[in-house]
Symmetry: C2
Subunit: 228 residues, 2 copies
Amino acid sequence: MVKKRIRNPRREESLSRAQIVQASIELLDINGEDGLTFRALSERLVTGAGAIYGHVANKNDLLTAACDAIVARTLEGCAAKKTPKSNLRVIALGLFDALDAHPWVGSALMRAEIHRPMVRILERVGQQVRALGIAREQEWATVAALMNYIIGVATQNAANGQNASKRGIDREEFLGSIADAWLQLDQREYPFTHSVAELLPSHDDRVDFLSGIDLILNGIDAAKRRQR
Amino acid sequence: MVKKRIRNPRREESLSRAQIVQASIELLDINGEDGLTFRALSERLVTGAGAIYGHVANKNDLLTAACDAIVARTLEGCAAKKTPKSNLRVIALGLFDALDAHPWVGSALMRAEIHRPMVRILERVGQQVRALGIAREQEWATVAALMNYIIGVATQNAANGQNASKRGIDREEFLGSIADAWLQLDQREYPFTHSVAELLPSHDDRVDFLSGIDLILNGIDAAKRRQR
DNA sequence: ACCTGAACACCGTTCAAGT
DNA sequence: ACCTGAACACCGTTCAAGT
């Protein structure tokens, strides 16, 4: 008896890159970084794994595109309508919340090279820093300080939330377990870590995040004062 | 004819975790992040792949341990003997150079959770920030700003160097290719990015890195002045 | 007790075959 | 021209078999 291979019929409408990117975002939101595989993706799109390669160069390209879509949407929602400082706070908080909602974006953003999504953030932050009117030689370092602070702290915060929910506990409980680990370290070797361990579980992430932004903005003011 | 399975003789001295971590560092230095596989590692250690699991929980544990070894060695070389500000500069530059020499450390450091290597850096930076004598409520944000700046910028710099050498060009040429890509963006949508593109290839990474550190330290001074 | 290495259940990516 | 899906060359991890 000959086995008859039954091949699924050809899909009627062709795939689009936007469709693929949107499905990727959904998979990443549901299952995190590991949730994005070509098998899961082709199943969700009801197509063959190979078909995706017609619209996307490889997995890294796909992850970058998904990340870029989130960043673009987020920044669109942050109109620059007030003072530069207040605009910077709005951008920072917008990204903070976006990374919290899509925890995989943080690590995608930090993956090597200065990709398109990074350039979007660079441009938005850079415009506002320039509007502050500081010396050109200081601009680059200032923008770098702000961007790294925003992305670094927001990514860490998102990872904390994700780790907590993965273990079925809330953020405070999760931070408490980290604090416990810190308190087990040798007190003489780790005095600073010991002393901040107690504060860790109860601190308000968004408030602390914003006060760090203000700290850097104060540094900018100090630099401006000095150059006069 | 019966095939006689020839099994390699049992290794005489047992494996140690330190040996495994050192071999991992060597693989990572040679071939980057992808260079670390259990097959390559067991070949280098002349053992079976499974044997490694007696000393290491999984691949992530192994990568963290390798990263931790580099960070620990680096910080040991940064004795805190002068003023807090100057100590912070020494620590920052030490990490900058270590990540440049081992480009895989940056991404390992940024991988989720606040691991041991991160705590080492937290402690060193925290001690010096505390010595600056700022208000306790500001400490956390200050330390976060410094740590994220140091790790973020150093990681980006290391990735640039690695990407350049991977493509057989030098750092300046590589940054030049990024600048070209930036100049292709719509000038009206990306005015800031356009205006800094020219400066990108020629800027001195270490000098810019240090001036960012000073910017944050200035913010600390400003905060201190305000609280008096 | 600890190592050995085949086996397992996955990956990303390719490409002949189909429509 | 574009999709389909088996095949390929890898992974990390496990575990029966060996010493």
